[in-house]
């Protein structure tokens, strides 16, 4: 399985805080997973196309694409605003 998590504005706009997907060729990389989620509908494509969207795999920010393996946890979220 791939665990997918959404936070803050992204979580709220999607109305979901997490998803579990079976690992497959369709979600074999971060970019593939991203496109797979966009195909869930217009709202998903809009929210996940936000220019400042950040992606993390297993709690590390990832810039660019990366292969995913079963057990990975992927997160999509907006720029951080803590502190």
């Amino acid at each position: 399985m791939i665990q997918v998590r959404f936070f803050a504005r992204v979580r709220e706009a999607l109305g979901e805080d997490s998803l579990q997907l079976a690992h497959s060729a369709e979600v074999a990389s971060l970019d593939a997973l991203h496109e797979h989620l966009c195909q869930r509908g217009a709202k998903w494509r809009e929210v996940l196309s936000e220019v400042n969207l950040l992606r993390a795999v297993n709690h590390d920010v990832v810039h660019g694409d990366q292969a995913l393996v079963a057990g990975d946890e992927v997160a999509f979220y907006p720029p951080v605003t803590g502190g």
């Binding site: 936070f7 709690h59 720029p79 951080v80 803590g82």
Partner: protein, 155 residues
Amino acid sequence: MPLLPAACSVRVQRDDFDIADLQRSVLQDDAGAVVAFTGYVKAGPEATVTAIDLEHYPGMTEKSIAAIVQEAQQRWSLKSIAVVHRVGRLAVGEQIVWVGASATHRGDAFEGCEFIMDYLKTRAPFWKRELGSFGRRWVEARASDQSRAQRWHKN
């Protein structure tokens, strides 16, 4: 998980914190200088904010703060560092975050503490939502926080 350096602590919690206790926690033999930053919930320029909700990404939050603390320890001569960041509902005027650094010399303590705050603001997965007469709204990331953090980037 980055190893938290010796004599350093990172806490993410709902409860309030005591700055005198935290200050004692970073005191070490012959630490001549402690610099401490405390952040508070602001009402905003038009005083319309009454509270904030602070969301975070459990697991990643602690890991990213530990990495920031580790980098600060590598770049400056610091005796001890403590970071506490609250999450959940916080009213205007409440304490949000405390970052303290102790050192033999004050220059290290000032730079280390400011570096940690600047990186925390741009790298740790916290998100603020303001509550008030306007309803609820997500706080937008500030370009000035990005440029403050970039001052520390190595060439």
